[in-house]
Symmetry: C2
Subunit: 510 residues, 2 copies
């Protein structure tokens, strides 16, 4: 009798959406200002959309790009693709067409679902891909479930396969070459349970997400609400007053924000929110002390977190009181997650040891799509190698010393210097380029570039403007350096590696 | 690129106890009237006890009986065995020594851990087993973590292996031959998550369990509190006044009861409990209508449930309003669970179809220990065959028509007629015997026996007394028939199967 392996590990769960539609059909699944969709309605609309996509040729395992300005339409696409067991590739419409085309090329997508307002960009991007990519424009009628397409048998009551890929989310990483992070269903299940274990679970949860849904942060709110069978409240664009009103209304129980958003909301606030709001979850970047202090003054339940795309959002969290007591700490690991740093003798949580931050647990992603080598490197030895440097203190609190060595977080978006640098090196006259972040009151950080020009050239205001214009055509606007400064040489190690901390000193010196 | 199996299904989670001891050392893990144990203390004491058991010879995978009158000591044993990766066999000290000896014999246990007050029974039972069984008596000093025994390396920070057997819980089943139901760690994990998804999760949960801890119901409260990192409040004996006081104090957030207990508590109640009490979970048997009506009058958050040892507690639940509207229903499936009935064309949830109730999901047990055939029968076709008969209504509510065909639930304990019958058939003068339940104001049900005696014999009061005396020596007291009646013949089908519903009619006719 093998008591060690008496059962196979759980690999399937009954499909969440169909079960909720059966058990609590009238419960609101998704809400925005102009619309509230119940679980029964969502299931019907998602089945209808899945049948339509199937009729067009979308099959299980196909990668399908989704580009929607409207959060609710994005959510509908997400659910339809799940029913079809196709893989969601959420597209960040803030990126440049060439960046998006690269992602579609890389993941081999043949379809892009988009809403009407994103259709022009989606078509443009589709036209740039070497393969034929079909753009499917979804109108408001997508919400009216129609039996116009025959539904394949596989759609009704399909099981959730936990080890399967749910989404491929592109992340630039330190190399500057975007990679598709594969997020599985079990990543979502365990992330949802980790949140519940950390912040509790209200059976009538209303989770507000005024962030884009194409990052793991926004996607996580949709998936958690689905798994819980509760309500996701979606704001398509961040509007501080609107978020403040929603939080003050007493309906919202949880909200996901980036520090920049919280700072703006705090400018409007004079007192605490109703107690039904259990946590303000801050992701993406460290929060400035004055913001935390103001939040404490107002009695807001802020929880800061540390996480990456590769861990499907947060893996460590710290509440407000601890955050002020332990300024700069990212807190302690969430349930079921182990965090360590790479010490001289292997992974350790010994206080004071500095090293690369390692993460182990069921929310760690499945690897990069079609990048065997990078995946093996990232997951070597059974730990996720984050690229971030950190250490623990005596109470087991994690401090991230250098976030992904050189990551810039601007208004909640990750900006990888290497990506900007490689674009700058392609510009006429540029011999070498280095990018670092500069503190910014509004965005948290903005990128600043140092360039070495061809001998004899001088960086005039006009040339800087021209360079930035060139970059604007190739990169999302928040990646374009706020400043470009000329230097004689960049600080490099003997092996040629950029010493960004030296450049950061230059920035601080003004 | 295999997107269908991009990851192995999760098989390991970081050990819950050591993580909580690290993350929230001062939080109370276990509380009784005379003692409060923090997570740090519990971890230290469990390590110490594990080291002692290891020194005595207990090894990973060994089955170890636990017999404790004190709930906290039972819990400490449970945690120590988990750290050792030994298998818990919780022993119901209400059973007769011969019944308990059978269980130890069947599972091949060589050790029994017990507290001082259970020591005499434990020793007696150990002496009845053919193999040598060592009894280890634990005193109050077990709480003082001592480094008197060297700790094997395997104890510190061991992972939880989800597919491994955590416990073997004996259940008599319909055949009358007790079988060891293997409950895995993943059964516990998914049961804990199903509860959280159904009733929400308070990060400061205080779950009161005034029920014995040797059934899955009580064990479930210990395991859920562990998984959540919250507090289990243990009452060693059910005392209605004490439970009422605890619920009224505003500390308790959840409580697990059987209907008999609720009925007694309601006699003391004049108003609602504080709102911090989110749910009164009723398991084990249907609840009489007057009890439900009184609970509704008082505004108590009662939730009735349907479950078995083989599903590691509840798989369906119904709240009070629905319970009164749909009298006799067990409600709808919990999250991640599928329930169906065996229809003519296979499993179905079609309204009105009557058949054996089938359950599918991650809380379904791993099978019966060393009972390959019975396991295959129970889990045939990927569904648990419960032996209960049921049907669904139009709204998807489950009605259990015949609970395990003939199960008697007396004061929260399952009583299987077949077990009593087989003992009665061994008594002198008894030719045939049939047992059914009779409604009882105090216990919910009590067993009543019908006997066919040798020709010419008449059942006198004296003989009935003698028969009951004989049974008392072989069976737990609550299994001994409250009445024995003589009949000429028992109602049997052509194939010889007892038609218990006929006997139930006899009972109702008085």
């Amino acid at each position: 009798m093998n008591l060690e392996r008496a059962q196979a590990p759980v690999a399937f769960l009954p499909d969440w959406l169909s079960l909720h539609a059966e058990r609590r059909p009238g419960r609101v699944a998704l809400r925005s200002d102009h619309r509230a969709i119940t679980y029964a309605e969502l299931y019907a609309a998602a089945r209808s959309m899945a049948a339509r996509a199937f009729a067009l040729g979308v099959r299980p395992g196909d990668r399908v790009g989704v580009m929607c300005h409207q959060g609710l339409m994005h959510a509908l696409c997400l659910h339809a693709l799940m029913l079809l067991r196709a893989v969601l590739v959420p597209l960040n419409w803030r990126l440049q067409p060439s960046e998006l085309a690269y992602q579609l090329e890389d993941c081999g997508a043949s379809f892009v679902l988009c809403d009407e307002s994103a259709a022009p960009l989606a078509s443009q991007v589709a036209g740039m891909v070497s393969r034929s990519v079909q753009t499917v424009v979804l109108s408001e009628r997508a919400w009216e479930a129609e039996a116009s397409h025959a539904e394949p048998a596989s759609i009704a009551s399909v099981d959730v396969s936990l080890p399967s890929v749910h989404a491929i989310v592109y992340t630039s990483g330190t190399t500057g070459r975007p990679k598709g992070a594969m997020i599985t269903y079990q990543n979502h299940w365990y992330s949802a349970m980790a949140s519940a274990l950390q912040f509790g679970l209200d059976p009538d949860e209303h989770w507000l997400v005024p962030m884009p849904l194409f990052h793991v942060g926004g996607m996580g709110v949709l998936m958690r609400s689905l798994i819980y069978g509760t309500t996701a409240v979606v704001h398509d664009r961040f509007d501080a007053e609107r978020v403040d009103r929603a939080l003050a209304s007493g309906e919202i129980t949880l909200v996901s924000l980036v520090p920049t958003m919280l700072a703006r909301i705090l400018k409007l606030r004079r007192g605490p929110y109703p107690p039904r709001l259990r946590a303000i979850l801050l992701g993406g970047a460290g929060c400035p002390r004055p913001v935390l202090e103001r939040a404490l003054e107002l009695g807001l339940p802020v929880a800061q977190s540390y996480g990456l795309t590769e861990t499907n959002t947060q893996v460590a969290t710290i509440d407000l009181a601890d955050a002020l007591r332990k300024m700069g700490s990212s807190g302690r690991p969430l349930a079921n997650t182990r965090i360590a740093v790479q010490g001289p003798d292997g992974p350790t949580t010994e206080p004071g040891v500095e090293g690369e931050i390692l993460v182990q647990g069921p929310t760690v992603f499945a690897g990069y799509y079609n990048r065997k080598e990078e995946t093996e490197r990232a997951l070597a030895g059974g730990w996720l190698h984050t690229g971030d440097i950190g250490r623990f203190d005596e109470e087991g609190f994690l401090y991230v010393l250098d976030r992904r060595a050189d990551l810039i977080v601007s208004g909640g978006e990750n900006v990888y210097p290497a990506e900007i640098e490689s674009q700058m090196l392609a510009l006429p006259g540029v011999v070498d380029a280095g990018v670092v972040g500069k503190p910014d009151d509004e965005w948290g950080q903005v990128p600043v570039a140092f360039v070495v020009l061809e001998p004899g050239k001088v960086l005039t205001d006009e040339m800087a403007r021209a360079l930035r214009e060139e970059l604007r055509a190739r990169l999302a606007h928040y990646k374009v350096p706020a400043e470009i400064r000329q230097v004689d040489a960049l600080p490099r190690t003997a092996s040629g590696k950029l010493m960004r901390y030296e450049m950061r000193k230059w920035v601080m010196q003004g």
